[in-house]
């Protein structure tokens, strides 16, 4: 059973790290796509969506060529002591990249839902872009950010193709639940492990979605102000 516990822990570590590193980048990209009006906006949007439509094995291959031990970015990060090739960090990178489009989309919709009239009112009140972002855009986009985190996290939990191509399936290092299920499927007399891991995988996903629904509802209520509560009172 320790094996299973370690696999789950490693999976959570990889998925959480992947989403945590991707999130700030996703917020910036979503903000630029929602508010910006520039040449190449469609191209940027398509580029971000690419990991969603590209075969995962190709995504893994690109990662291997760029972030791998011989890739230029791989060598660059190695200077700072960060290595991706066949390491859990590489699995987190693959998970984060594959999750990126799923995180960006709801956050972008959140930023697009910000009432331009309110933005104008804050602008006139002397608030610069950063303050407007903190006071208005971020709170309004919060349900979208949350949805993005959950979607990205569940995607990262189940990531398979890019991960196995980029960092292989090394027990204790890169072998997440999905990779472990695949690995146990190849072995004889391991059907019970497969069943347990598959159930855990389903359980984690359901848990994440339920939490997401609950938090989204809470945030939406507080964004609408307490008008509803006062009317009832």
């Amino acid at each position: 059973m320790t094996d299973i516990f370690d696999i789950v822990l490693l999976t959570l570590k990889i998925a959480l790290t992947g989403v945590a590193v991707t999130l700030p980048i996703a917020i910036i990209l979503a903000y630029i796509l929602a508010k910006g009006n520039f040449a190449g906006k469609s191209l940027l949007s398509a580029l971000i969506m690419l990991p969603l439509v590209m075969p995962p094995v190709v995504t893994g291959l690109i990662l291997l060529e760029t972030f791998g031990p011989n890739g230029f970015l791989g060598r660059f990060f190695a200077i700072f002591g960060v290595e991706f090739g066949f390491r859990w960090t590489g699995a987190a990178l693959a998970a984060g990249l594959v999750a990126l489009p799923l995180i960006v989309r709801p956050i972008r919709q959140g930023f697009e839902a910000v009432d331009p009239d309110l933005e104008e009112a804050l602008e006139i009140s002397g608030l610069g872009r950063w303050r407007r972002f903190i006071l208005l855009d971020l709170p309004i986009a919060l349900p979208g950010i949350l949805a993005g985190i959950i979607l990205g996290f569940t995607k990262a939990l189940g990531e398979f193709g890019a991960t196995i191509t980029f960092v292989a399936s090394i027990p204790g290092e890169t072998q997440t639940i999905s990779l472990a299920i695949y690995s146990f499927l190849q072995q004889a007399n391991a059907s019970q492990m497969v069943l347990v891991l598959a159930s855990l995988s389903i359980g984690l996903s359901i848990f994440a979605v339920v939490i997401s629904e609950y938090l989204t509802q809470k945030i939406s209520d507080s964004l609408r102000g307490k008008r509803g509560a006062e009317n009832v009172a």
Binding site: S125, R131, P139, L223, R224, G225, R227
Partner: protein, 375 residues
Amino acid sequence: MSPNTPFIPEQSLILKNIIFKRNDFTINIPSFSLPLGVTALVGSSGCGKTTILRLIAGLERPNSGSIAIDKKIVTDIEKNIFIPAQKRNIGYVFQTPRLLAHLNVMANIALKPSHSNAQKQHQEEIIERLGITRLLNKATGGLSGGEAQRVALARALITKPRILLMDEPLSAIDPKGKDELLEFFAQILPKLKVPIIYVTHSLEEAGRLAKDFAMMSDGKIINTGDAPSVLSHRHGERGDGIASVLSGKIIKKENDGLVTIAIGKQEVQIFGQDLEIGSNVSLHLWARDIILAKKTPKDISARNSLSGIISEIIELQNGLVEVRVMIESEPDNLVSAIVMARTIKEMQLISARPITLLFKSAAVQKINDIGNLLL
């Protein structure tokens, strides 16, 4: 400032050669300067009032021209100067309050943290003067329309703006709240030490709040000055839209609705149920509704006759003449009448001669009632 600075304005706001085009609509303001105090910018819907405010605020960029606020140039297209809205230090109250629903009232007012004691004191002063202390911890969703606009006004004043722009702030409020807020504005606005442009299409609001008027039509400011002068010398499309404004005091009210108004030592009778004895009233008279007589005739249905002195005779187009008559030797009480040019000859009318003006009660309207007629 460099020697080739286009102009160094003395007034709080100056617009020069502003042209702004959007689709088929054009704003064209060759020159406009704002006096101190409250100025009402009046005109019908869609004539460009809001756009002018947006141009001043920096929310729109004109195609050409320049805008200076408090001696500082904020827009000068020719010199490629356009200071962004957030750096113009302008107070703006919109048609709707535009408050953030996820923040309480206090957080909506104090959007920027106030560091110095002077700032905190100013903030407290504004909150107290606007009577919103008890609302500070409330959610904005729980405010009435009038309360929300007070909060919006507080937000606009907290930054000590160099100019305050108010864009029909009563238009989205229920009638009861509207009366209260109008009363409140009438008390507070003149006391604010900031020049104010108050946009409205209601002459009642404008008359209550502002001393100075600027009238807009079809993207242009067609007249500026005090209320009587703006309202009295409007030229209608046919060139005969000349009117006059008389000020008087209500002295008598009869059961059938006939109200007697004293204009100096003379009297005018009009119909009006909602007028109170002792209150001052401004009356609007179209020049084409007035008959001139050398002697006051008897047995005539027109209830009103005012005697005065001809101060000026001005030739108009199409064989018409405007005769301006001063009532009670009071230069402010000028009434214009329009007659045929040949009438002047036949009646031998010349300046400084006494004359009698005749008109029906029905031809007189209170300024408050004429919003639809004029705009």
